[in-house]
């Protein structure tokens, strides 16, 4: 029997070291694609965030999600107190950025692809020391539910922006441009991502052990079921919503700078 303390005699087959594996498939493909995908997605949004002029994120009623909600408009004096490198977008983006950075799916994605911890299953790692999420800084990931609360509030603003985008020719005319649809889809995709959050799944009902004891727990079971349904595709919505936020920002920038015409749809 093995030592009950848990100390294991090493299997003589064991070889340690980065990328040591007996796997023969393309195990490195997924981490590589993730690095590229996250690099492009977050790279673009970081670039957009540091561009100082929020005018480029506006066109008629269209407002880029990078500048929504427009905190810098509500409190214009705030910018004068902040260092020059803090752009208006940064006043907002720390919240959705923190939400994604602490999301259980993104954690898996960047632990694997950026930190090689591990790069793939049954593949050796470059690191010997490991403390997981037990110590600072990674223990801070437990803050995720607070970012989720903020993300839900921001989502409400993005829905407001999406509906407002259907009044392209003024508040009395319901004229939709292609940008209106782009903004609507942005709100839809972000909802599918945000409402499938693991923390929300727990707080909305997952913390219960018994769903049938009282009427409200039945209601919570239904809500939990809805979140679970989205949660099963959380990775998909994480990617789709990330890509679409970037695309929405780019679209509005191109339209507002006159490089692209926004066609009227109906």
């Amino acid at each position: 029997m093995s030592d009950p303390s848990g100390a294991q005699a090493r299997n003589p087959l064991y070889r340690a070291g980065f990328a040591v594996t007996e796997r023969r498939d393309l195990w490195w493909m997924e981490p590589l694609l993730t690095v590229l995908g996250l690099g492009v997605g977050f790279g673009y949004l970081t670039w957009a965030a540091f561009l100082g002029n929020p005018e480029h994120g506006h066109y008629g009623p269209y407002l880029s999600p990078v500048y929504s909600p427009p905190v810098y408009e509500w409190f214009p004096s705030i910018m004068t107190y902040l260092p020059a490198f803090v752009s208006p977008a940064l006043l907002i983006l720390w919240a959705p950025g923190g939400f994604r950075a602490t999301c259980y799916y993104y954690r898996k994605a960047y632990y694997r692809s950026f930190f090689l911890n591990p790069a793939s299953c049954a593949v050796g790692k470059p690191w010997e020391k490991y403390c997981g999420e037990t110590e600072f800084p990674l223990v801070v990931q437990n803050i995720h539910r607070y970012f989720m609360y903020l993300a839900v509030v921001i989502l409400a603003f993005l829905w407001y922006d999406a509906l407002k985008a259907f009044t392209r020719d003024g508040p009395k005319d319901y004229v939709a441009g292609a940008g209106s649809v782009v903004l609507l889809l942005n709100a839809v995709f972000l909802s599918l991502y945000t409402l499938g959050c693991h923390s929300l799944r727990h707080l909305i009902g997952g913390y219960l052990d018994c769903f049938s004891t009282c009427p409200t727990s039945k209601l919570r079971h239904t809500a939990w079921g809805g979140v679970t349904c989205l949660n099963e595709r959380h990775m998909l919505w994480a990617w789709v919503s990330l890509g679409w936020v970037g695309f929405t920002d780019l679209y509005i920038r191109l339209v507002s700078s006159g490089r692209l015409a926004d066609p009227v749809l109906f």
Binding site: M1, S2, D3, P4, S5, G6, A7, Q8, A9, R10, N11, P12, L13, Y14, A16, T21, E22, R23, R24, D25, Y104, R107, K108, Y111, R112, N117, P118, C121, A122, G124, K125, E128, Y130, C131, G132, E133, T134, L138, V139, N142, I143, R145, H198, S199, R201, H202, L203, G206, Y207, D209, C210, F211, S212, H221, N231, E232
Partner: protein, 244 residues
Amino acid sequence: MPEQRSFRVFRGDAGGGQMKEYTVETGPGMVVLDAVHQIQATQAPDLAVRWNCKAAKCGSCSAEVNGKPKLMCKTRLDDLPADRPVEVRPMRTFPLIKDLVTDVSWNYEVNKKIPPFTPKPNGEWRWMQEDVDRVQEFRKCIECFLCQNVCHVLREHQKQPEFFGPRFFVRLAALEMHPMDAADRLDLTHRQSGVGYCNITKCCTEVCPEDIHITDNAIIPLKERVVDRFYDPVRRLLRKLFRR
């Protein structure tokens, strides 16, 4: 049509060993365990292999096929590339006994640390399907320990003394979410099971032959319960105010 295929199987014990080549006549529908049995019957009667059901239900035949943790009885030969020999090795996270057989008894020691099901006193023994759906998924576990084998916390970092591993997070979750259970295992989950070492990279879920969503349905809900009690100041305050 019968077809000749090459196999490379690990032969050896804790002192050392090497991969040995065998040729096997294969037929349609054969699985890796069939081939290993054929090698045992015709070429290497002393080849050690553990199995029982040949139906992916007893969890005995866990091994690494072409470097991936698998049940040998559930791995079809026609799913493996035919142009290279099929490689079969024992699980590497556990001490080797002989050939394909490893000593998995550490897992049973971990199991003893988890307080068993403790029924609620005077509880009514009736509950609804929606109450048991979650825990029914966890009852599919066949204790093959492939998830323990692949988890990097055990495989690479040998945290056995401080980390229970995914199989036992499944068990903890099954008990913690049970509608009729009265015991509290959250302190144990936080302080002894080492759930904080799990970085939710999902290799356990990838290899589970029973398709249990170990990370999403057991580990993350446990982590969230731990956050409720040990990290979330607002929930703490609410608990104090409402004495829950």
